[in-house]
Amino acid sequence: MEIEETQSPITVKELCKVFQDEGRGKLVAVSNVTFDCRAGEIFGLLGTNGAGKTTTLRMLSTLLKPTSGSARIMGHGVDKNAQDVRKSIGYLSTTTALYPRLSCRETLDFFARINGYPENKIENRVNHLVDRFGLTEYADARIERLSTGMKQKVAIARTVAHDPAVVILDEPTNGLDILNVLDFHKLMQELQEAGKTVLFSTHTMSEAEKLCDRIAVIHRGKILACGTLDELREQSSQRYLEDIFVWILDQHGEDPDAALETM
């Protein structure tokens, strides 16, 4: 895989993360992961549960330190320039992670402010997001009173509140109904049109197939394949992403049935 380090908003090179568990000993969560995301690209990390997606994203969002290897976001190393990296990203974890006693509007205002969005533009930005995510009716309601789908919408809105150049989303459609999922897909396209770089993890094949410009298949902490859907189709001679995924695992001597059970 060729890396265009100077141009890509996200470049990841031989990234490793090893945990030491008192009971289980040494755990290699991520091993020599290398990929890059280009400007305005939607990049998907596709893998089963426990494949290393979340660990990779947590390293990129500076919550974890890499054991070895390097990763740069907007030119800043995640290890040495963590503060600069944080200014450039919006990160959504697997949970909605919202303050139950704040309202939607307050939540968006809070995250825009602490991430350094220009103060004189915050009000307009919050109003725009409330409008964009269809939150007008609930804008002043406390988060604890919202439904799961609404909370997830607020969480996504909060992630982009400060208009970051890079958006990192960890399984963002978890718990959303089909209408909200479709709305999320629309948002992804809007972000892409706005020139944002989106890196997101999923284990839903159809979502990756529909949204991603490029996909990296990750399994047991290793990237097994990376490319556009057409490139992967060409390599595997398979039509659907599910079949491509099985083929890739098979090529690497992994048991596809066991892997699919965890999806």
Binding site: V18, F19, Q20, D21, E22, G25, K26, L27, S61, T62, L63, L64, K65, T67, Q83, R86, K87, I89, Y91, S93, T94, T95, T96, A97, L98, Y99, P100, R101, L102, E106, F110, F111, R113, I114, N115, G116, R142, R158
Partner: protein, 674 residues
């Protein structure tokens, strides 16, 4: 501190009904209950004059009637006819049962004398055949009324007896010459301070911990559980700033609790609902100000404490589990005012939560010492700062947000080994104090040599090393050193003795050696009867080897990654000093321990320290046996000792290859990481 986080943190906290209830409503409700209860207790102490108690008398008891009618106040005691007195006492119909009993140490002559002196109770004496009669009062300590009746009846009967004795002396024209009168010279304010003070401190701690608990536990542990903390950590605001902002929010809530309580108290005092000692005069105003100041710093300390607990917990529930023992310990410490011997002008003021327990009654009594108040404020603020630094260190850890610790294999085990070393040595120190003093066989010179040196300083540290899979050869490095270092160490022996003696002189006025301790030490050594080889072996050689194994070996190795060389030598020296039981010995031994730790760090071997230790102790034994005294030498001799020690230690640091893993190490770096 970040203004935005603080603002939104407070917004979230103030919208939490639990915080409002625990911080404001509950204290407002509970304070009058507490004051009312304390007032009632106060009345109980002085007695309730309107109370009437019922007593019964066991029949037939001739003569006893005279005693009860004459002694007991008819306004307070009313006699009831009883059939089964004990049963009635049990069922609560009676408060007191009075009966006559025969004296177990019967003296018939005394009985006859009593009968002749007091003819009106002669029948009673005859009945006891004819020994001195004993009036027995039966009461129930589980019943308030019965207890009060017993105290009152005892007082009145003793008064009655005293009057009889006085009458007898007067009848015989005798005068014992001494008149005893008692007077309580304490002011009402001081009495009220004693009544309210100790409880007020405990009440405040309950309220501060209760009020701040929801806010603090939710602030880190709760947010960690919800995942909101990771979103904050991904913002451009650093973790220390986040920690301080959250601390400020919790501290504001806690100080608000303190303020509400002070206003609440002031309200009750101003409107005269309670017999409050601060309600009048200039002292009252300053008392309130001092109380508010003290409660505020306690509030800041409890905020830091709760936040630290919160940081140590991975969920709100876990934080609640930690909170409970913290709550109990803090409550127990806050009751220090109930300890009769405690004064604020003592070491008590250096302990957070404990100090205010003693100071508050003094403030209420109008004996405010501004210096002690300032000291306690400083102690609380420093402790809060230390706790916050520890909280920030926890928050900086990679595994703070969950997941496994990032260390690998040996590193992880070493970190655990390192973290538990100081508590382990504290345990050893406790064993050193407790065991020999409870087992006579171990309190002798030989017993101490065997137990302290072989068991505490070699076997226990060895097992500690093995438990954490550490190699003895790495922890206690025994490496050859240059001849010039050996020579320097030999010269350090007398120089160290002189310098330590000079230091003892210097601190002598502050920490004088207790004569009794010196006598006990000489008794233990028993220079006349103990063979000299045993003295040299048990005092010189054995401690030189065993203590170096424990302190400059295991302890120093366990901490060598946590401190720089100078700080490490200091910590090891302080721990070493505290093992020398008597307070006056702590400083000189810590001083020598510091130089021995430097030698180990400079050379990467415990051998030089062992050599100096054995030499020092043996030199001291030799000096004792030859009645040589280093006291009273000209000052310049001690100065020469000190300067010589500095110079030679400096040279050893220069010549030595350093301790692997520290910045003094001059060898192959790969060796240091192994």
């Amino acid at each position: 501190m970040n203004r935005i986080i603080l603002r939104y943190e407070l917004l979230g906290l103030l919208r939490d009904t639990r915080t409002i209830f625990l911080s404001v409503l509950l204290p407002v409700i509970l304070l009058p209950v507490l004051l009312f209860t304390l007032n009632k207790f106060g009345q109980r102490a002085t007695g309730d004059l309107d109370q009437t108690y019922h007593f019964g008398r066991v029949f037939p008891s001739p003569g006893l009637e005279v005693v009860t009618v004459s002694a007991l106040d008819p306004n307070e005691f009313r006699e009831m006819l009883v059939e089964d007195g004990e049963e009635m006492l049990k069922e609560g119909h009676l408060d007191l049962l009075i009966r006559l009993k025969k004296d177990e140490e019967s003296d018939k002559q005394l009985g006859r004398d009593v009968a002749s002196l007091y003819p009106d109770i002669g029948e009673m004496v005859e009945r006891t055949d004819p020994a001195r009669p004993v009036v027995e009062l039966l009461y129930r300590s589980d019943r308030e009324r019965s207890m009060r009746a017993y105290f009152k009846a005892t007082d009145q009967m003793l008064d009655f007896r005293e009057q009889r004795v006085k009458q007898l002396l007067a009848d015989n024209n005798a005068d014992i010459g001494v008149k005893l009168v008692a007077e309580d010279i304490s002011t009402p304010q001081e009495r009220a301070a004693r009544q309210y003070g100790p409880a007020l401190s405990a009440f405040m701690i309950l309220m501060l911990l209760g009020g701040g608990s929801v806010a603090a536990l939710d602030s880190l542990a709760g947010e960690r559980e919800r995942g909101t903390l990771s979103t904050l950590f991904v913002s451009s605001i650093g973790r220390p700033t986040i920690a301080w902002s959250k601390f400020c929010a919790v501290a504001i809530i806690s100080v608000a609790v303190a303020l509400v309580q002070i206003l609440n108290l002031a309200g009750y005092a101003i409107f005269g609902f309670v017999d409050w000692p601060l309600q009048s005069g200039q002292g009252g105003v300053w008392g309130f100000v001092a109380l508010f100041l003290l409660f505020s710093v306690e509030a800041i300390f409890t905020a830091a404490l709760l936040l630290h607990i919160s940081a140590r917990s991975s969920s709100f529930k876990e934080a609640q589990l930690f909170f409970f023992p913290t709550f109990l310990v803090s409550f127990a410490l806050s009751l220090s005012g109930l300890m009769p011997a405690f004064e604020s002008a003592s070491v008590v003021s250096l302990i957070p939560v404990t100090g205010p327990g003693v100071l508050i009654p003094e403030i209420l009594a109008g004996r405010l010492d501004p210096l002690i108040l300032a000291l306690q404020c400083a102690v609380h603020l420093l402790a809060a700062y230390g706790l916050m630094k520890a909280t920030i260190a926890l928050m900086q850890r990679e595994d703070f947000l969950g997941g496994q610790a990032p260390q690998h294999g040996k590193e992880l085990v070493f970190e655990q080994f390192s973290q538990r070393a100081l508590p382990f040595f504290a345990l050893l120190c406790a064993a050193l104090f407790v065991v020999p003093s409870n087992f006579a066989a171990l309190s002798t010179l030989k017993g101490q040599g065997l137990f302290n040196q072989l068991v505490l300083f070699v076997l226990c540290p060895y097992l500690f090393l093995k438990f954490y899979g550490q190699k003895v050869r790495t922890a206690v490095p025994v490496k050859r050193v240059d001849l010039r270092i050996v020579l320097a160490c030999l010269a350090l022996i007398p120089l160290g003795q002189l310098a330590a003696t000079g230091l003892s002189h210097l601190v002598g006025p502050l920490l004088p050696a207790p004569v009794k301790a010196l006598e006990m030490m000489m008794e233990l050594l028993d220079l006349e009867n103990t063979p000299h080889w045993q003295l040299f072996f048990l005092i010189g050689i054995l401690p030189g080897i065993c203590e170096e194994f424990a302190f400059r070996g295991v302890l120093l190795h366990s901490l060598h990654k946590r401190f720089g060389p100078w700080a490490l030598a200091f910590v090891v020296a302080v721990v070493f000093g505290f093992f020398h039981v008597n307070f006056f010995r702590v400083l000189p031994t810590a001083y020598l321990g510091f130089f021995m730790a430097l030698l180990t760090l400079a050379t990467g071997s415990v051998l030089p320290a062992m050599l100096v230790h054995i030499g020092n102790n043996s030199f001291a034994v030799w000096a004792m046996l030859n009645n040589m005294d280093f006291e009273g030498l000209p000052t310049y001799v001690y100065v020469v000792g000190f300067v010589g020690q500095l110079v030679l230690t400096g040279l050893v640091i220069k010549w030595g290859r350093g301790y692997p893993g520290t910045r003094w190490f001059k060898g192959d770096r790969s060796e240091s990481s192994s």
